[in-house]
């Protein structure tokens, strides 16, 4: 009994001293030695600007961060502030684990891009931080070898396919492939297919979200063309493998993100690089976009402090610092995008332009399952014996079933 009493007193005392100071738990994914120092110094600066708030940073990894967040929320030992990938927002919003921030952030949307990805059923659940998209990278030397002008870039699918075809026919004897095609890697393959899908005008759902229209004529056409590139000109490997091959001069054209620029810079790669927007039947087409967002736990007792913190982290200046360290091309802050750092680099400009012509997957709590079905359809058509039309039809039926549940 005595012990319990002492314990109670200790707990009370501890509570009393802590109440003056708030500790925010922040879970985030940036562990790369290039960016981690920036994250740390942003946190330190925040703490010195707000002496009554402590921030405790927990690092997550991409391989199992999602799992940790799910468990954290489920067990009630979750974070106050959490970094979420755009495709996870709907899932956590629908299950009530992240807070509706519409009233807190709604007035503040003008200076930032990416709100569409954080909006679920009309309410805003997270603040955009760093966005990302995919652009077309080409090896200029291969283009020249294939007989193109030194400044020529494809502006339509017809020209895009022609470039790949000509690079491939000019170079295959020397081991140069026209197109880097992804193998069936989870979470990666569909991101490569969707730009084709969207650019041909296909949609996953009807606008009112009532029906899945995955196997429309446009969609079938997109998959046929994608398969054709894969079959005829494809150097097929993991994303990493394709990028290696591209950087080693074995692949002429790939679709990739800003991390490729980072690799080229950090590894000091010698490549005659050209970049351009993803084409469509006309210019431009629609690429894939996603991003990193900051959300607040519904269970957090420190919502005000968390909001202040989120605002601090995503401020234009801090985004700029982050992007420079990580070589990220798409800060969500429009002010940051105006900085000379982005304006002076032709490839970063491609990314900044591309994100205006990019779509993201529907904000849907069942997206993980839907994504799986789409990926399965592409896999069947590319690597199995499925025809594009039947593979898409099968996925459409599966997705319709998921929607009914």
């Amino acid at each position: 009994m005595k012990r319990v009493l002492i314990l109670a007193i200790v707990v009370l005392l501890a509570g009393a001293t802590v109440s003056a100071e708030t500790t925010l738990e922040w879970w985030q994914f940036w562990t790369d030695p290039a960016v981690k120092p920036v994250i740390d110094s942003i946190v330190t600066e925040f703490e010195s600007a707000h002496p009554d708030i402590n921030v405790n940073v927990t690092d997550l990894t991409w391989s199992n961060g999602h799992e940790k967040i799910v468990i954290g929320f489920a067990s009630g030992r979750g974070p106050d502030v959490v970094e979420l990938g755009s495709d996870w927002i709907a899932q956590f919003a629908a299950s009530g684990q992240i807070a509706d921030l519409t009233d807190d952030l709604g007035a503040d949307t003008a200076g930032f891009q990416g709100w569409d990805m954080a909006t679920y059923e009309g309410a805003i659940y997270a603040r955009p931080w760093i966005l990302g998209t995919r652009v077309v990278f080409l090896n200029r030397d291969h283009l020249t070898l294939a007989g193109f002008d030194t400044t020529w870039l494809p502006v339509s699918f017809a020209q895009f396919y022609d470039a790949i075809h000509r690079i491939d026919s000019a170079g295959r004897s020397q081991g140069i492939y026209g197109w880097g095609s992804n193998t069936a890697e989870k979470h990666r393959l569909y991101k490569k297919f969707l730009p084709f899908f969207w650019s041909y005008g296909a949609q996953i759902f009807t606008d009112d979200r009532e029906y899945c229209v995955l196997s429309s004529l446009m969609a079938v056409e997109a998959l046929k063309q994608y398969k054709k590139l894969h079959d005829l000109y494809g150097y097929v490997d993991s994303q990493r493998g394709i990028e290696d091959a591209f950087l080693n001069g074995n692949v002429g054209v790939i679709l990739s993100g800003d991390w490729l620029l980072k690799r080229i810079e950090l590894e000091d790669r010698d490549i005659n690089l050209a970049s351009t927007l993803f084409p469509g039947p006309q210019y431009p087409g629609r690429s894939f976009k996603g991003g990193e967002f900051l959300a607040i736990s519904e269970m957090s007792d420190h919502r005000e402090e968390a909001l202040t913190f989120i605002e601090f982290v995503t401020s234009p200046e801090n985004q700029l610092r982050f992007c420079k360290a990580n070589r990220s091309a798409n800060p969500s802050s429009l002010t940051a995008q105006q900085d000379a750092y982005f304006q002076d680099n032709i490839h970063l400009q491609t990314f900044i332009k591309q994100i205006q012509f990019a779509k993201h997957p529907p904000v849907d709590p069942d997206w993980v399952y839907i994504e799986d079905e789409i990926e399965q359809a592409v896999e069947d058509a590319l690597f199995g014996d499925g025809l594009p039309a039947t593979a898409l039809l099968k996925a459409q039926q599966q997705i319709s079933e998921i929607m009914e549940q």
Partner: protein, 275 residues
């Protein structure tokens, strides 16, 4: 069945043996070759013939990734489980070997049942037990469920049954406590069995992937096999480093294999290592 054979016959015999040897050991040789290759070298089958050797990949693993931590985790968990297995399996095996009652019969049945149960059935419940019990993502989750295992009990019981109980009885007459008898008489006598079950426990847990993978989520809790499997899914890793990490995972087992081959073989033929 010793039989005289012609010289031609035995040459053919050796040729076949060596060919199979190449197939069985070749992949491990390739692993070591790639591990010692410079990271900028392009991999091709010809790399096998290259004589260039560098330890840089290993150095990188320790300086640029958490390799030291992964190895420590693997070692710590494997050693803890091995020690637990030695103490507990002999303890239970002794009870089973020396007594016949409804209780020990029931125990023995439970041991046999667990030997037959496919482990996949406990993946989800064990995950939830660890999660709700608050040991998920801690060393406890990697150690507690494996501290005692049916194969070890089985081996200990079988061995102790072959030892006459006269020493134990003499000690009992002298007034020694049961615990004292266990630790000062049974354990030393059961050394051969302990060597077998200990080395099996160590290798099994050092190599184990499924449960360490499922029961942890932090990078700092990863064991070597989990870390290797995760590194492979990661974007920025090349074969040279991956194979260097693999070599680190194989070396301790290889060393044990050469030192304790007899024990490993006898344990394994009795139904040992569950991969």
């Amino acid at each position: 069945m010793v039989r005289s054979r012609s010289i031609v016959g035995s040459i053919v015999h050796y040729v076949v043996l060596v060919a199979i040897l190449a197939v069985m050991v070749g992949p491990l040789v390739w692993m070591a070759r790639v591990a010692l290759l410079d990271k900028t070298a392009t991999l091709s089958p010809d790399s096998l013939l290259s004589t260039a050797v560098t330890l840089q990949n290993f150095i990188d693993l320790f300086t640029q990734s958490g390799m030291a931590r992964y190895m420590f985790n693997s070692l710590f968990v494997a050693v803890a489980v091995t020690v637990g297995n030695i103490i507990f399996c002999v303890m239970v095996g002794w009870v089973l070997a020396r007594h016949r009652s409804w209780f020990t019969r029931l125990l023995f049945v439970s041991v046999v049942i667990v030997l037959m149960i496919p482990v996949h059935i406990v993946i989800i419940p064990l995950y939830l037990i660890c999660l709700k019990g608050g040991i998920y993502d801690t060393y406890w989750a990697l150690i507690l469920p494996f501290l005692i295992n049916p194969i070890g009990i089985f081996l200990a019981r079988q061995y102790i049954e072959t030892i006459p109980p006269s020493m134990e009885e003499a000690a009992r007459v002298d007034g020694a406590s049961e615990a004292r008898i266990l630790f000062t008489i049974v354990m030393p006598m059961a050394k051969p069995a302990i060597a077998v079950l200990g080395v099996l426990a160590f290798i099994t847990n050092w190599n184990s992937f499924l449960f360490p993978f499922i029961l942890t989520s932090s990078e700092s809790m990863r064991t070597l096999p989990v870390a290797l499997a995760m590194l492979q899914g990661h974007q920025a890793i090349d074969w040279q480093h991956l194979m260097a990490g693999s070599t680190l995972a194989v070396l301790p087992v290889l060393a044990l294999f050469f030192i304790m081959q007899r024990q490993i073989v006898s344990g394994v033929t009795a139904g040992g290592i569950k991969q």
